[in-house]
Symmetry: C2
Subunit: 218 residues, 2 copies
Amino acid sequence: MTNVSAGTLRRRPAQRRSVERVERMLDECARLLDEVGYDGLTTKEVARRAAVPIGTFYQFFPDKQGLVRALALRNLDAFLDRLAVRLGEEEISDWTDAVDLAVDEFVAMKRTTPGFAIVDFGEIMPFPGGPPMKGTNRLLNAALENNVIVADRLRVLVIDLLGAPRGPGLDRALVVAVEAADAVIKLAFRVHPEGDPGLIAECRRLIRRYLADHIPER
Amino acid sequence: MTNVSAGTLRRRPAQRRSVERVERMLDECARLLDEVGYDGLTTKEVARRAAVPIGTFYQFFPDKQGLVRALALRNLDAFLDRLAVRLGEEEISDWTDAVDLAVDEFVAMKRTTPGFAIVDFGEIMPFPGGPPMKGTNRLLNAALENNVIVADRLRVLVIDLLGAPRGPGLDRALVVAVEAADAVIKLAFRVHPEGDPGLIAECRRLIRRYLADHIPER
DNA sequence: CCGGCGATATGAGTAACGCTCATGTTAAGC
DNA sequence: GCTTAACATGAGCGTTACTCATATCGCCGG
């Protein structure tokens, strides 16, 4: 699907060794993020842990932001893939079940996937060619594109699956819901290392109440 | 009220000139943030624009994060003060009016106050002595403390004012509401430089629907 | 098997950053 | 006027993100 190299890599690795190296660098980036955070992460240390010279690092990644952005994209793909699988597996009788499932999977990945707690889609970085950012912080400019992608695929996965009526109103509502849910889950993980259960429950309620206006009863 | 120097300054300026200098540095920090964002901001440039030698900068601010944190605190105080004034001035018949007023004032400050679009309370920085941050990004650790402060004062300003029943459930709901509203308003400003009106309206609805569960009808 | 060309490899080097520190100057209290 | 603490200053240090000149590798047509 959406590949890591979609706009985030300087050069797409073609040969076998370089593909493995790029993958290793992303893995080490994720682990290092969990240890030291974004500010503490250095490209040199990522390269060192991945056993790749710094020059090679910059052959493929444009800069430090690009590295983290690529990781965020990989995490996004992983989340959506796993969500699609679970939506297919489990019995979904109502759209509220789908909301709960999405929140649950998101929380599960925050707990288990390295780096996901730091760079879920896309707290951290903007995509190149994004909206004009005259006078805005690059750090804050990220979530839009990623969350639109999430909302878009969520619409396909959840709403279309359940036969809800579409329309621009619903599209916008989904973007808002993703944005708000993302923020509250982040809060839950700041309060408690495993995610405060009360806040996670509150997140589900927030989203259900809000979306109830946009999705008719069945 | 809560002063800028509450934990963010290395030394509180006592004499007149140093007080002015600290204020000037915060002003220039805000303007520079609007121009180049957090990553692009350098302590040297802030000092240069404020006509303060770099050594003096570090007499008062512990580091770059501390500078931005101090600005965020100043912005927080400004917001709450202005909100308190408006709550006293205008006719409030319902708690939903208070929610609308808070959102409106927040948006207004994002439009007019330098730096507020970048560091409203407290997207950017954690406070010292915050929660343990083993393995979490410092950049993401911020909102908690600030939003708790906001929720706390909002409770005093809005809820107590209207005689709503208190309790831990309501307290938590307010924190969640502030967190979610913050995220959606940020989204509105990423989409549109003046804040997308549709998304701002959607933010009001999100908060009202959610809080309706926690605040009884009158 | 070879010749050649693009893809990949490499790490010393550069500019710029955050921040310190030793030393000098000013204001306040007695 | 003396003492003490607050304030002022900018050269310099360690570290970072990132570049670039040069060397090597892998692949494919002939």
